[in-house]
């Protein structure tokens, strides 16, 4: 199997269409014959990362690569960065505003979900510069 690549520009302004890239990834993985269990893990990880870019970083890009033995998802934004990654990783920690809470986000469960759903999660972030998150799910 050749390496299969997908690229998405994630629009920061649109909460309504948030999740579209993740839905697209799910569809593609299904077409590639990836198992349901792996699709589920990728869907969760990708969705949480996509939503975080929309809510916290005014959008960004997502690159998904499907290798014979693993799926790699790279989410990159030029948002505010994460000042304290260890704190951000804690279940229940969120800086989401009231307005964002009203839409159902801001439980502080996104990053923990990403960690749980992936075999490897790497967060590179710099305050004022942006955040790059790399997640690997093994097949």
């Amino acid at each position: 199997m050749d390496v299969f690549r997908l690229h998405f520009d994630i629009d920061g302004g649109s909460f309504a269409s948030a999740g579209n890239a993740s839905v697209e990834v799910k569809k593609t993985l299904r077409q590639l014959g990836v198992s349901n269990a792996v699709i589920r893990r990728c869907s969760i990880a990708m969705y949480e990362g996509e939503i975080n870019m929309v809510i916290h970083a005014d959008g960004g890009t997502a690159d998904v690569e499907v290798y014979p033995d693993r799926i790699v998802m790279v989410l990159e934004d030029h948002g505010p960065g994460i000042p304290d990654v260890e704190l951000a990783m804690k279940e229940g920690y969120s800086t989401a505003t009231e307005q964002i809470h009203n839409m159902g986000f801001g439980a502080g469960m996104g990053l923990p979900n990403m960690k749980r759903s992936s075999d490897d999660l790497k967060i590179e972030t710099k305050v004022g510069v942006g955040t790059k998150i790399t997640m690997v799910v093994r097949l």
């Binding site: 999740g19 839905v23 869907s43 969760i44 839409m103 159902g104 801001g106 439980a107 469960m109």
Partner: protein
């Protein structure tokens, strides 16, 4: 039990039912989307009072069998059309989530 059978037995209001034969295997109640994303299982009926478009994306990705809006909640504008397109079954009930959940559980 299919979602259609469930909807009939519980006298739910059908908002859209693009996949009526989908099998119901469990249930999950929650309004915080990251909890639902991480906890709801494939085949669950998801009970929520959230009415926005993000519900459709979460239902698609978590692969739930159906969404039941409880407390008489109706989806926001455009949600039904989106759900039709994404094959997501949507229903509404005037009852609160605990009451609806208990009825779903009794059917399983």
């Amino acid at each position: 039990m299919t979602v259609h059978e469930m909807a009939e037995k519980l006298s739910l209001q059908t908002i859209c039912e693009p996949d009526p034969d989908r099998e119901v295997t469990g249930g999950y109640t929650g309004d915080l989307l990251s909890w639902v994303m991480g906890r709801a299982q494939s085949g669950d009926v998801w009970l929520t009072i959230m009415s926005n478009q993000n519900v459709v994306a979460v239902a698609t990705l978590a692969d739930t069998a159906a969404v039941i809006f409880t407390e008489g909640v109706q989806p926001d504008a455009g949600v039904r059309e989106l759900a039709e397109k994404k094959d997501v079954n949507l229903y509404s009930s005037p009852d609160h989530s605990f009451a609806v959940g208990a009825k779903v559980a009794a059917l399983l």
